[in-house]
Symmetry: C5
Subunit: 319 residues, 5 copies
């Protein structure tokens, strides 16, 4: 589905036009335009390719999806793939946003209608002064909204990690490992999205591209700075999770040690006692069972053995 | 075995020629040619060396195989080694494809007839417009098919890793470690193939080589981009496997802890009981076995000991 | 809250002026000024933006806080974000200091009144010769005080790590893991602050900025050197903690092994003994309980079994 | 011991000359020479220093040995240290080969007569056309033989690692760890040799040195490529060993878990049974030992307890 | 304490002069001088600052110590901080040597009289031809002696690591972990000293500094090469220790597994036996204790149970 938002002249309100009317408008005027293509059909992509003279490889990428975030300069335009993230239930959902940035026009091709871009689209309808800053500024607004989805996620993860950290030294009804496992996998997924995106913005900054105006560069630097910050935040979360996992393993081993020492102590104390009672439970007639002194001896030995064992274990530094 | 596919003139259909006819054709016309050498014999290699004036070192590499993916520029041609992967039964099979790329000719030397290159060979017979784009485009088609074999593998692994991840927290009839072990070894093998291949394509891109035409460079950039994506995909899979292994180790230790606590609890409860029964099982005549109150005492102590033990363990925070 | 400290002319004492008087003063004279803005209100930020013609993005950063340490050159000034650390109770408190460095003026925007900057502010009131070295030197004094807060922290951590290292081989009343865990998390936090700060100072050094005078560069090199030193110190502490944790895990396993060997030995010795006593505790009338030689045999076997077991375990290298 | 092999003129057979005759020959003619100095005495080194005007530092290196592989350009010659490896019994033996490469002469100083260089020496006596390609080609032949020793080793290790990998999941008569340990230490040693050697060959390639002729550069690139391949091979082996070790640790823990669960099950089943038999083994006269129903009750309880325990353990998901 | 060694003219013997006489001498002649300042007082540092016009920051560094090895070029001189290491008892002692290198003069400021520098100082008094090579050569001699202290340490550690490696698979009277722990901490300390020193020497090499003469550069390259070698040596030792620790952990777990299997086997064999004897130890009158066949049955079951258990365990692959 193609929607075209155009600002014919500075000061005018922006308005939507139909694809049929667009080519004439585009070539005749200095209008600034944002073409938004949601859930693109083959016809939409063909229309885009013909109207804007796009390279077949980029159209191929839009069709196949499943790219990685990247920036590639082509003749007359820049091609960018952004990833927006959304937390759905217990998993991450990634939306690919393919952008074509030209001097007076921005094209975004999206698989589904994500809230981040939708909000910018809304804003562009209302705020008159935003669009007249140029197509590059419109792209900045889209990319900024996309990067903000990462901050939202990082905040949500922060809470999850705090909870994990509180649980690793607490006696637990259920193990903390599945939680750590899921979070680490999530972080792997996100890092895979944000790392190339950071590189793409860096490329935008340093290549002196004709479709980005000089004063807008400061905004793109800000964008790059944001991705760096997200990346460092996620890196820090990854380190904290690794720290939690490593220390937890050591702590479990420590606890196991305590448990085993107790078992050993109990066994060490009661096994000899059981032997003594077993000894005098034998039925040999020659054993002096009628002798009171032997009974006293047995009782004394039963009293002494645990104490002696304990003392010995203490001295041998079993504890 | 040498097969030579040649396109004498743009618009003509491509046709196969015999090695004997080839040299005349090659030097006389502007034909675009793909020489495919399957399971090369020494005679084949000698013919190639003499016909195209190839450097002895590259012929040596074709003979010995067992190279790594690489790109090396020589006088008048570029020498590339590609690795295509195939999943056979439970193991990976690597096919080395040695390519010589010249302005009007591509030579591929292959140890065995892999499906990836065979499909391109077939396509070149049928699709008339592909070959006339030049020898560099033919090479791009071959390399693209080769890189696609990695995507196929990565997808297959994705499933395997999903299965592993589901099993690490489930009670298991058989351990998950052998599976993790094999997958990690496979990933080591693949990374060893894709990493240098990525570097080789990058070198192709940035060296302004005479045998690659300007408009084709976008295709080679796409190729490079694909290898980067495969590499990141595999890297992500490697991290996920490491995550699974590390978390699993911690989880096993946790479970062990639970088991040991139970064993300790049972031993702690029954060992004193056994001692009491053993005590009154002794045959001393002076023990007051006929006294009902002693029996009652013994029975009461047997009732109290387990409860008291449990309480004590609870208080001492054994659980 | 805005405080403005100005040095109208070299040799004069520095004095505070009101925001209302300032713009006239600033534009008319060669005065060197430090504008300190504590807990900035929106009005303060607006005043700063208008008076010094600051870029909206930097004012935005001051308003939102939660940045990372960075350096960004703007038209006519440099924008720096520094992090000062304070140890409060058991946790780290981070104060962000946003600095605008111009040829004759330094602006610092702080969320709260930290002791590090407050001390420099005090010093600038008293020491007459410091401020006349220029706004860049005032900035150096602020940054140096900030970096010193890291050294203070590193020293405090050094003690904590020494304590941890002493405890990992000692029999412990309470486990050492929670301590290691907290320290490692603290180090992650600090490294996140110091790393980008080091990069920011490096950028200051190498960019030939108009608002830093040539002779001051040596001081900034010193500053950079300090951050490098702090970074290496923290890196070393991180490695020492990892070393402690890894070795501790191995040591615990070793201890567990000892404990289990003892348990096994005791079980191995007493189980057969218990069986023998149990055997002769059976009530079969045909068992020759009245036979003295059988009793002697039983006693001898009870004497021999533990010794034989011990010898066997010794020979089988159980210990 | 000094041996000098010289090729006076292209086409002539190469022949050995005595050190006394050499200087005259060297300065008068265009001869290509290889001076091989085995187990160098101080006199040999002095002779080399004086005859070829070598820098004292390089002679010092030859005397002290115990260098690392390196390349250092000096006035008029290049100084290279190569490491050849030999597998002796169970350990690695390293031979240092110090090479001086000049436009018409190669000097190799070796501590002991290694088979790799000896074979090249032999070949140079016989193959007439090799030496006339120049001293740089002779050096290439030596270096190639040295690098081949690494391939031999890597192959041998491959087998060892295959064996280790087969054993980690098999029940073992003897532990696999000592084997892993030795291999990893060997790999550390080899990597220490091959890494700097790769860098040295890279330096040779890229520095436009006067003592290497242009057409020979392709051979040196091949050499460099070989070292890269060895390095990657060893890196892969290192990763495979780490994989084996990590997975093995997890697998052992898994097995331990199984063992402990069995022990716990057996203890849990027999401890209550033992208590029941002990209970009725007490000698109290008031216990109704003559009552058949009590006996039946005891027998039934003995039959039910194991089954009930098993069921309980099953339900509580102990297994 | 200031000691000044000066060589007034090439060929003269070097002699010590008093600080009072020095400035005249220094400015009038071409003398080469080494000013050695041991345990510097404030007066010494002031004298140095005034006589040689040193920057306050470098004097500050000399006063505060606790720097990291570094090289910083100043106007007219280079400032270097070296670390010399000494093994005292069980710990490492670090001596900082602050060096000022000028065209005709070397100043070294040392906290304590280390043997390394003291030996060079001695040598400069005696060997007439060393000093006349220039102040840069004197510095080389000092730095070389300092780097040699690292080789001495590395050798000493080599022995310690050999011992550790021998012990990890041997049955041990005392655990090997504390040793590994100390060595790893030592290596962290040393690496922290040698790494920046290597960078400092590299900076000396590549910056075309006016106070280093061209022919001396080869000696500084040698110095740099030595630090690289030490660094790699230590890196290798670190890897060997990590290898030892990791493998040891796995080996301990393996041993623990063996121990537990034995315990399980013994428990599994004797628990049923104990039950049988306990069963026939019950005092029920209805039990057929006078029946010989029952006795025989009991004896046979006691003989069969262990064998059957063993067989079952074998079949169930418990071993």
């Amino acid at each position: 589905m193609l929607s075209i938002l155009t600002l014919p002249k500075a000061g005018d309100p922006s308005r939507e036009v139909k694809p049929e009317e667009f080519p004439a408008l585009f070539h005749a005027t200095e209008a600034i335009t944002w073409v938004r293509c949601l859930e693109p059909t083959d016809a939409d992509l063909l229309w885009l390719q013909n109207t804007f003279d796009l390279h077949p490889l980029t159209i191929e990428d839009c069709r196949n999806r499943n790219q990685r975030p990247k920036f590639e300069p082509y003749d007359g335009y820049g091609f960018l793939v952004l990833f927006a993230l959304l937390w759905e239930g217990e998993g991450l959902e990634t939306t690919e946003i393919h952008c074509f940035l030209m001097p007076r026009c921005l094209i975004t091709v999206e698989d589904q209608d994500g809230p981040a871009v939708a909000a910018v689209w809304q804003r562009m309808h209302q705020a008159r002064d935003l669009m007249q800053r140029g197509a590059d500024f419109v792209f900045y607004a889209v990319a900024d909204a996309v990067v903000d989805t990462f901050f939202t996620l990082a905040d949500r993860f922060e809470d999850g990690i705090d909870e994990i950290e509180e649980r690793i030294f607490a006696p637990q009804p259920e193990p903390v490992q599945p939680l750590i496992f899921r979070r680490r996998n999530n972080l792997i997924d996100i890092r895979r999205a944000i790392g190339p995106m950071r590189d793409a913005f860096n490329a935008l900054l340093n290549r002196h591209l004709p479709f980005i105006q000089e004063p807008q560069l400061l905004y793109f630097r800000d964008l790059y700075d944001h991705t760096v910050r997200v990346y460092e935040l996620l890196e820090m979360q990854r380190e904290r999770l690794s720290n939690a996992l490593e220390v937890h393993l050591s702590y479990i081993s420590n606890t196991l040690n305590q448990v085993m020492k107790r078992l050993t102590a109990i066994t060490t104390i009661f096994m000899p006692l059981t032997f003594v009672t077993g000894f005098f439970g034998m039925n040999f007639e020659h054993l002096p069972f009628q002798n009171l002194w032997v009974l006293v001896l047995a009782l004394i030995s039963m009293a002494i053995i645990p104490g002696a064992m304990w003392l010995w274990m203490w001295r041998a530094r079993w504890f």
